[in-house]
């Protein structure tokens, strides 16, 4: 493992420990409600990590990623409902569809100032949502407009991507998250990663160094949309019922962006940290205060975002990793002594 050679031993031990705890967690937590909260944290961490490829590393601001969540969910579910194709295969198909749409949006806009890209992604997401809400039937597929799609319960079946217990979902999404983080790690240490960082920070200088900036941004966009759509299929199989507003609304797009910025965009762990901080706030206020104080969690999101951007514009992962490093250094010293 040459690529890990420059990572401190304490870091490796810590990472392994965290992973072990997360993988062992369902043994100790059996409450489906708690498991569901963890599943959603991982799902949002996963979606935000996927977003990060374009929103973080390519240095632009996509604000319509729920469209790709929706494309993933609708593609795999329609294939399953119409042709009984396993959602695992549908998942990949959804990813490809999403990547194609991502390229289509990125092609004209990624060359322009970032504001155009941000606005185009919003318009695309909203346009797609309205379109789906207006389509009852598309060729052989029953899209059912605003009524949404319902996946029939078949009980425990891996092929059908359905489980009665929350535990399999927990492991699936945790593994997806770990994989996307590993992919991020390797991407950051590759030519694509270096070129994206350069093009995001100083496009003019990057072009002078031989980088076709818009091409690399498009690559990032395609990867990002593909991965996001996989999360969409997972979400569809988790809830088994969804409609355009629930799966491709702008709220989800913004939440993903908020998590990324609060955690720290263009870092590996930022999205995970952001999801662990924001998601529980959302869940808990919704569960305990949802009826009396509607929208309170969104006020909290907004305020947290403003405050973090004011005092830690590069996200909370910076101070957190600084504290961890101090802690690790102490442990390392004690170990040596």
């Amino acid at each position: 493992m040459k690529f890990l050679s420059n990572v401190q031993t304490t870091h490796k031990v810590f990472a392994a420990l965290v992973l072990a705890v997360l993988y062992a967690l369902p043994i100790f937590i059996t409450s489906p409600v708690m498991l569901q909260i963890f599943i959603l944290i991982f799902l949002y961490a996963y979606l935000t990590s996927s977003w990060n490829f374009v929103g973080g590393f390519a240095g632009v601001l996509p604000l319509g990623h729920s469209a790709f969540v929706g494309l993933g969910a609708y593609t795999s579910t329609l294939l399953y409902l119409t042709y009984n194709i396993s959602p695992w295969i549908g998942m990949i198909a959804g990813g490809i569809v999403a990547a194609a749409f991502g390229l289509l949006i990125g092609l004209p806009t990624l060359k322009l100032r970032g504001a155009y890209f941000a606005l185009a992604t919003i318009a695309f997401a909203e346009g797609l949502r309205v379109l789906v809400e207006n389509v009852e039937k598309l060729g052989p597929f029953e899209v059912r407009g605003p009524k949404g799609l319902l996946i029939n319960l078949v009980g425990n079946s891996f092929k059908d991507f359905q489980f009665l217990s929350k535990v399999p979902y927990y492991y699936i999404i945790l593994t997806m998250l770990v994989l996307v983080l590993i992919l991020t790690f390797f991407m950051m240490r590759s030519k694509v990663g270096y070129y994206l960082a350069a093009g995001g920070e100083e496009p003019e200088a990057a072009e002078a160094l031989g980088i076709k900036v818009s091409k690399y941004k498009l690559i990032a966009m395609a990867i990002s949309c593909f991965l996001t759509a996989l999360g969409g299929t997972f979400y569809a199989q988790l809830v088994l019922y969804f409609y355009p507003k629930s799966i491709m609304g702008l709220d989800m797009s913004y939440e993903i962006a908020f998590i990324a910025l609060i955690g720290g965009r263009s870092t590996i762990m930022g999205p995970v940290l952001g999801a662990f901080l924001l998601r529980p706030v959302g869940e808990l206020t919704r569960i305990y205060l949802g009826d009396t104080l509607p929208g309170l969690h969104l006020i909290i999101f907004g305020l947290v975002l403003i405050i973090v951007m004011r005092y830690q514009p590069r996200g909370l992962v910076e101070p957190v990793s600084r504290w961890l490093n101090i802690l690790f250094d102490r442990i390392e010293k004690r170990r040596r002594a």
Binding site: G59, V60, L61, L63, I105, L107, P108, T109, L112, R113, G114, A115, Y116, A118, L119, A120, I122, A123, F124, E126, G127, V130, L131, E133, N134, E202, P203, Y254, A257, F258, L261, L293, P294, G295, L296, L298, I299, F301, G302, L303, L305, I306, M309, R310, P313
Partner: protein, 294 residues
Amino acid sequence: MIGYIESVINGILMGSIYGLTAVGLTLIFGVMKVVNFAHGSILMVGMFAAYWFITLTGFNPYLALVVVVPLLYFFGYYMQKIIIKPIFEAEKHVREPITVIIVTTGIWYVLDNLALLVFGAEFRVAQTSVTGKMVEVAEMYFPLAKMIGAGITLLLGIYLYWFLKHSRMGKAVRATSLDREAATLMGIKQSRIYNIVFGMGCACCGVAACVLVPFYYVYPTVGVPFDIKAFVIVVLGGLGSVPGAILGGIIIGIIETVGAQFMAATWTEMLIYAFFLVVLFVKPSGLFGLRQDY
């Protein structure tokens, strides 16, 4: 035939008000290169202010302009000064001020949901002396409130155009939008220009709010549809261009009302997004190519 003319004119009337909100957005973008995502929420704040003013005093609805417009000017001025400025300073030299853009989204979330907490989700209608009145012109009927609204918009558009072209402050604003560094060297204090432009952008929302309230529902998320339309409009008109924003607004208004003659309202919404994406593909500098900042 007469039905189409009627809906085209109705589209122009409504579209000019869309254009007005878009003018505020484009002014701020032109100078700061920041898309203010809280723009619709500021419109919502203005609408609630106008609603309460009219409902509590029972005065003529357009008197609300006197109160609401300065109120929103200072709202925007201090929002920029207190919240946005420190964040903007930190990434002044960055080409894409992403942090600022996302912070305006945060402001939007806070404002909309605060309104939801305070006023509840219900739709309110202000009862005013012009509400529901129609005017007949050559067998066509137009809502009086929309006609007055479009008239006020037109006047404001002309004033803003004059202001930017000829007034001292307007020239300073344009200079800053062309080249920040150079403007600073000429002795223009950037941060003050930003405060003023933000204030003006929000004041445009204030005017739009006052002319909307006599014929439009008021509710906490009323800004969202206006916001998204304003985004589309500013890109159509060319980001940063004031006349482009008003023309873009009118186009959107016409698509909406004429489209409604042929299809369901949700489809016209689709049509607007599709039109927008096509423009981005074909002519990202906007339909009129008035600005080249992209």
